[in-house]
Amino acid sequence: MTGNSPTTERNGGASAPLLEVDDLSVRIDRDEGVVRPLNGVSFRVDAGQSVGIVGESGCGKTMAANALLRILPRSAVITSGHMRYRRKADEKEIDLAAVDANSLEMRQIRGGDISMIFQEPMTAFSPVHTVHNQIAEMIRLHDRMDEEQARERVVELLGLVGIPDPEERADDYPFQLSGGMRQRAMIAMALASNPRLLIADEPTTALDVTVQARVLALIQRLQRELGLALMLITHDLGVVAHTVEYVYVMYLGRVVEEGPVAAIFDAPAHPYTAALLRSIPSLTSKSQHLEPIEGSVPSAHALPNGCPFHTRCKEKVGDICHREMPARVEVAADHFASCFKHTEESVPQHD
């Protein structure tokens, strides 16, 4: 059960993109000043594919998911970019960045086509309604069903996500379930409308390691059996290594590297990815000294000029790193990185 099956062909392959995000930027106006959590983010998810988005807090990974579902804070504006999504109702491609966030169209996609599971199931569920009532509400919002049919479907879903005795458990309140079971119930709710794309935002961060293993196994099984596309957002490189086919590494609101999961871990092409991997203590061998990334992530209020990582980078090419934004280049098949160390020769030296 390792998730490193061969990656689907991404360039010119047969699979059409289900979702294609292109040059997405978001700006938030606050009293303290302007924050730019996303600065030209591009990624794609093919039908049935599993994609991981990794990065540390503040890199914009959750903001990207919220932008997709158009559930950004009121003060946030999408300033550029497209989010082309092929919806299940009529296979029509629509730009989620251009539709009204409160339109019927968007409401059908949100929860209907694209579902999301969150880190903390206790805050995602209402504490005063039973699990059944909450999932049934979700079903009847997106499908025409009478109460009895909806009840059957809820029980079926709870069984599907591996909750024992789904008939009885359906009438439990969220607080009566253990953390792992609550996360399963939330996955059941996310599946209620037969989505095409499941966004999982740190789905196992609040869980114990043994429970995490089971929930990730469940997500993988559902993805395979139901042909779901999965977008897994996490800070945990261990989780991403074993659950997805293709990985995007984000830093300060940009994608700095992307590639098939094996390539990212075997031959990281961006200094940030490489440094991140070197900074994790190993479980399988005794490490003498860790190599941390010096400093901390710059504030989103004052983004550095040039490459976003240059303030902490140990592999700087030259002054150009402070001045210009490196272009995205293909370093190997389907493996891209935005760093001057790959384009050094072709870029004129200013110093």
Binding site: E56, G180, V209, V211, A213, G238, A241, H242, S279
Partner: protein
Amino acid sequence: MIELAENSILRVEGLRKHFPVRRGLLRRITGQVKAVDDVSFSIESGETLGLVGESGCGKTTTGRMILRALDPTAGRILFRRSNGEAVDMAALSRGQLHEVRRDMQMIFQDPYSSLNPRMPVLDLIAEPLKAHGWKRRDCELRVAELMERVGLDPRYIRRYPHAFSGGQRQRIGIARALALSPSLIVADEPVSALDVSVQAQILNLLKQLQQELHLTLLFIAHDLSVVRYLCDRVAVMYRGRLVEQTETETLFTRPRHPYTTMLLNAAPAPDPHAPWMEDGEESEAMEPSEQNVDGCPFAPRCRYGSDLCRQEYPQLEDTADGEGSPHLVACHHKHEIELKGV
């Protein structure tokens, strides 16, 4: 007179914490939750002991009892003060505690909520000093020295916590714990709230302090890779009891309790080629059980569980047979089963 081996800083004996469960209108006590149940271990001077387990296993409760932030239901907490005097923390009165607490400090998990946002770094780090009678003028020198020690620029001594990043705030927390040169520091998940890249900075700092200051540390954590990096010995807890205790390298390479191997195998390594959860049979038993048993609390999830396991609790016994350091295991089948480490 308290008998504590000369090189020991802490010895916990038969520590218990039972919380009453109250039900109904009259709040009658209907049962007990045994959060910590007969836990014993010791820490030698200059040693780091890792206390690991999943949420609810009692590791934090144990740490809080050692500091007497919680009163134990039973047991002794023998502690050697910086001046060499041995005391039983469990038997001290409130007044005596104040005096002893200068020798035992804590590093907290969340560097955002554990620092008062209205106090500048100087006051934050000097607070324990002032509580123990230091003069303001001496404080400032000591704080600057401590800031340097933990990798903070002493020029920022008048700044408030909001001006610092998460990693820097954790350094402030560490400086504060070091201020009175305690003989023991209890660190409860000190890096789990930090980002991966910053976590390594703090782990390196703790390791450096271990060496420079000969720190004695009780390190409470759930992340086993962090424990392997920092700890000399590890004690594994499960539902209030210790199930295995030995030297770090032995625990990782030759574990002898089925729960320890489950923990080791469940953690995904940041390497897509590394094996992970290949044992289908084991994964079936991953879900923690709420079931109460008289015997081994792990029996319902254990693939080796037998009738004996469900009836009788296995005692923590040394399996090293006098060879090398002790390897304590609480399992009826410890001699029969073959377990794989990592």
